[in-house]
Assembly symmetry: C2
């Protein structure tokens, strides 16, 4: 059975967790306590030298250590239900929106958080190098997150799903990004009726309660 | 026949151009003169309201306006030769490295350029919103680009290709990112023998002269 190294309070592993649930893939879950820096421990470093979650360990010993790898792998090995699209046109639309949601949404919230949080001094970017916080970048991250909410609200005006008239990885990453924005005190408001309606529709899927 | 709206001097459309060439897909090319802001003209706006290149117009009237969409579409419609991998494990490794190259390389160079160039005041990010340049972010972009070169050099120590022992979209985006870095005066040096050897191997592919 596959094992997901997860952290129930963190946004990145939530993306992998939802994808596994949506595809109905049996797996074990190991919680890694990021608040107490368990990811830096010797025992976890032996599992994932990158010291990050999500990390997905497959039955045949493969270790996938980011959402790009996990999404590509799960879709190829468990094609049903498809989350990256089936036809060339649908695959294109989903890939495009997934990229926008990741760049304009997920990364923008991360920028706002990492460049302002007292707990993340010198950790303005993930990865092995320390980077100092840039206060102007925290401000810009907040502004970009607002623009992302406005853009997504407008886009969803006549749509049930973000891309290609189907539930996809673009919806998964967008839900996680929108929820993640609470940490920098940004939530959808009355100004975002379409975004709120879409979020409520998504809430009906059991995977989003995980 | 498909039409690629291209600009021979710009890095983003170069990625699409190389992918089309590697797959041997017949297409027409229309040059859009970004230096003279032709992408903002009425006539181009009628083709691509996003005012960006690359834009790929397919025979059946689909318009793909970013590299995420173009790569997903071309791979699905023209699977040979594969550029995103075939097995689940190869797809995962290629997607993971493609994401790293894009985030740690391509975006880092863009960050350094857009936050310092006198021609890009208030254009620190692409897209419809203006964002002021952040000088500290330009500096960080240069540092990240150096780290990217060092990381890639180390990664390529015993490898011909970046991911999954095969030529892939990760190599394409990495070549474009490494060449793009010249604009902020960063080039591989004697400190990057593996990166230089890989770049020379890539130069033997006719697509990289396009």
């Amino acid at each position: 059975m596959m094992t997901l190294y997860d952290c129930s309070t963190a946004p990145s592993p939530r993306r992998a967790r939802i994808m596994l649930a949506e595809k109905g893939i049996a797996h074990e879950t190991v919680q890694v306590d990021l608040r107490n820096k368990e990811q830096m421990s010797e025992s976890f470093r032996a599992i994932n030298p990158h010291c990050t979650v999500p990390a997905l360990h497959t039955e045949d010993g493969l270790l996938l250590t980011d959402n790009a790898a996990i999404a590509a792998y799960l879709e190829a090995r468990f094609p049903e239900p498809p989350l990256l699209g089936v036809t060339p046109a649908d695959k294109a639309e989903i890939a495009s929106w997934h990229w926008r949601v990741e760049f304009e949404g997920f990364l923008a919230v991360g920028e706002a958080l990492r460049n302002s949080s007292p707990g993340m001094v010198n950790r303005a970017l993930p990865g092995p190098h320390d980077y100092a916080q840039i206060p102007a970048l925290a401000e810009r991250g907040l502004l970009r997150t607002q623009h992302f909410f406005d853009m997504l609200n407008q886009h969803l005006a006549n749509k049930t799903y973000i891309a290609a008239n189907q539930f996809s990885v673009a919806d998964i990453t967008a839900v996680v990004a929108v929820d993640f924005a609470r940490i920098v005190k940004i939530k959808p408001t009355d100004q975002h009726p379409h975004l709120l309606r879409w979020r409520e529709t998504m809430a009906q899927r059991p995977s989003f309660s995980l």
